[in-house]
């Protein structure tokens, strides 16, 4: 026992002194400890289970934190306090809500399609969790690193719409069906724009793999690298992302003042909890993919040549950088949601097909020209970037 303890302490002492707070050492130590005592099969099995559990836990915990943050920030925009009774500053409000949702009765609907009604929330949750796995949270915290990362993320997140359409159809409720139809049309249209915006950056970075894309942004984030074209792609990606996840001024399918709750009116208890969670997590996923692709993922701000500055920036761990950037984008998302009224369905589709898509196509061409003629910032100023 004393031997193992000394080995633990010694392995911790093999710290990277410039970046002591990273978890890469922890994970590699765990890996080597397991490998030295068991066969390959068991090591992989245990690691998969651990990673899966960690992802699911992270999923739930991030959702709870996001719900609390949204309620508080929304309230501050609206000249009121948010929840502040349950725990100091209302910190335990999300936990109380979670317990309440778990305890609610699941109301069985008369004459609805039982199997589809039951299965619909699962599509939404599975799609959102599958995308969650591909995000790079920090150095060494990247669960799946496909070489077609961007394509994988776009493809898997499209599965969520099946959940919405099934929910609207199987609820046997005219209002739900109207909501689901609207949502289906909206989702399919905005998928296009989101995909094209990401393609613009793939052209710039030259690769679809997330880890390589992040490594290339060490001294210059992609949004600055492609200047005009990247910024337009960033704005378009954020708008399409919000429209895809029914957030912000595009929340017509769940417009409370018109259709009570749209496609998830008839759900209660944990099934409603799934939709609720999936909505918040989708917003988080959009923000995190935008961070990874445009804002440099988990890399800190580094300037070529200022070693001391780089050292200080590097001391702050990578996951803090990642969550900080994502939190900034989520704040932007909340800000936009509470400042504007809702767009009507035809205006929404109008925006996509007449404004975003043409601008997107022109933007890709501009980016190709920038890359081929060497006008990106890394090409123009290699000394600094």
């Amino acid at each position: 026992m004393k031997f193992v303890l000394i080995r633990i302490i010694r392995s911790f002492m093999i710290l990277n002194y410039s970046q002591p707070l990273e978890v890469t050492n922890l994970t590699s130590w765990l890996d080597s400890a397991l490998r030295s005592s068991m066969s390959e099969f068991w090591v992989l099995l245990i690691e998969f289970v651990l990673v899966g559990v960690a992802l699911l836990a992270a999923y739930a915990v991030i959702a709870l934190i996001l719900i609390y943050a949204e309620r508080k920030i929304t309230a501050f925009f609206q000249a009121r306090f948010g929840p502040n009774r349950v725990g100091k500053w209302g910190l335990l409000q999300s936990v109380a809500d979670m317990i309440k949702i778990l305890l609610k009765e699941i109301v069985k609907i008369n004459r609805s399609d039982r199997f589809l009604f039951f299965a619909a929330p699962f599509f939404m949750i599975v799609a959102s969790m599958a995308t969650f796995g591909a995000i790079a949270f920090g150095k060494g915290l990247h669960a799946i690193d496909f070489n077609i990362g961007v394509l994988y993320v776009t493809a898997v997140s499209s599965l969520g719409i099946i959940g919405v359409l099934l929910a609207g159809w199987s609820s046997n409720n005219k209002y739900s069906m109207i909501g689901a139809m609207r949502s289906g049309a909206q989702f399919v249209s905005y998928e296009l724009s989101a995909g094209f915006a990401l393609m613009t950056i793939v052209v710039l970075a030259g690769t679809m793999q997330f880890s390589e894309m992040i490594d290339k942004q060490q001294y210059c984030w992609n949004i600055f690298n492609g200047h005009i074209s990247s910024i337009i792609a960033f704005v378009i990606y954020l708008i399409s992302g919000h429209a895809e996840t029914n957030r912000g001024p595009f929340d017509l399918p769940e417009a409370e003042s018109e259709l009570t709750a749209g496609y998830h009116t008839e759900y209660s208890g944990l099934q409603f909890g799934f939709y609720y969670l999936a909505e918040y997590l989708n917003m988080f996923i959009i923000a995190s993919i935008a961070t990874t692709v445009f804002l440099g993922g988990y890399l800190p701000i580094q300037v070529k040549g200022w070693e001391a500055f780089n050292g200080i920036m590097g001391y702050i761990p990578s996951y803090v950088w990642f969550f900080g950037k994502t939190a900034g984008l989520i704040f932007l998302s909340l800000w936009v949601r509470w400042s504007f009224p809702r767009l009507r369905i035809d205006q929404l589709l109008n925006l996509e097909w007449k404004y975003l898509l043409p601008i997107n196509l022109v933007n890709i061409v501009v980016m190709v020209i920038l890359v081929l003629t060497g006008l990106t910032l890394t090409d123009l100023l290699p000394g600094i970037f």
Binding site: I178, S339, P341, R344
Partner: protein, 543 residues
Amino acid sequence: MENIKKLILNTVPAAVIEEKQKLTVTVEWSKLHLLAKTLRDNAELSFDVLVKLIGMDRGEELGVNYLLCASKDLSKEIVLKTGTADRENPLLYSVTDLFETAHYNEREVFALLGIRFINNPDMRKFFLNADWVGYPLRKDYDANPELNPLSLESVDMVDIAPRIMENEKGELVEDTVNIFGDDDYIINIGPQHPSTHGVMHFRTALDGEIVKKIDVHSGYIHRGIEKLSENLTYPQILHFTDRLDYLSANINRHGLCMCVEKAAEIEVPERAQYIRTIMDELNRIDSHLLAWACQTNDLGATTAFIYGMREREIILDIFEKTCGGRLIINQNVVGGVMFDIYNEFQKDVKSFIIYMRDKLKEYDRFFSHNVIALGRMIKIGNLTKEDAISYAVTGPAGRGSGWSCDIRKHIPYALYDKVDFKEIVRTEGDSYARYLNRLDEIEESLHIIEQLIDNVPEGDICAKVKPIIRLPEGEYYSRVEACRGEFGVFIESRGDKFPYRLKFRSPSMALVSVMPLICQNEKVSDFIGIGGSMDYVIPDIDR
């Protein structure tokens, strides 16, 4: 008006003309339609607004009073009276082909008095169930609850309307008509719905997202105020007006007090007039703030709702400190006001004026030019001026269509002829015009209050009134500009301390009656937005 009298006698020689509080013309029931049509089509002064349609039980006959006025000059009024002695099956001719606003009013008269109108295309009862026993406003109504028990079973909606029409030969044919087609996709918007501003039931036939036809079912909050008032003395009736259109409670009560004061010839002291006018304008600001907040909430900007409510709190605090109530204001009584202004009233109101002007600029920046909001409001819900006059849509909604109908300018009461303010009229007739009208009217109200607040004279706040008020025999009308339109009071007194018949003219009934017209071929989301721009309050309709 002499020409009008000649015209009436030319058309119907048997008409009886009296010069009471208003020029009153009594005709036989078969000649009424002809007379109304002549007055409406008169080129020189066309009486094309039906302000009040009052059904009454006069004892020996059941009849209707019509108060008509001219859309170009609201102070030119005329009252037409008619009746029928047949109490078993009373029939009168309908004026729905002349004035569209008569549709719901005649249905209400049928429900409450039993008079059926020939040629009205839809003769269902308006507030009561179709199987209600008895006619409440008749003097011989049996109010036994056994006759009309509360039903605990759910009944399917029946969309069939009975009607009586007169064919070319002059015979009366009773038939029924279906409201909706056989394969219409019908949904019920309301009565419980976050956006109908009260309990209003719209049965809507949809075609995908487009609204094809709307049928209005009302009466979910009908409390029978007019019948209750027939057994209460005049001071006891006053508290009902706070519960009609509760957002313009003060102005409604002002209208009722004015009616009684004019009839009993009580003069209101100057200080009370100042206080009444200032409180009326504060009430108008608070109602328009709520209308703005609810309209933006219906369009999706929840933040604006809370901003509007926050401003409203300051006015409600002023009301609370003056008269003890925030929504049920209870300030006006017959002869003056009940509570005097408190010491810091002027200071509070002046600081509110500065604060509100700042906030109006903020609302302008925040919402009025927002591209999404403009897309939801411009060219949506178009109401032409002719339709506004025919449906008697007054208030900011009517003025948004180009009809100048502000009672404060045309028939000034209280101190409105002594202050300087503009009447806000826009001609586009869409939701955006109505929205901007309300914000501009808040500015005008602030301007009126500014002119009055420093000059409140000393004196009594209430004239000396006998404890039991008996109005002399006769019919009395009053009209005031409430926040949603023209609010009117009609009292017929037979010398008692109770009114013989009391009627409130509801501005929101006209606003709801025009919804089926302007929402046709708009999308469901726009239907909600148009409802927000019209800003009706349901207890006002149902009374």
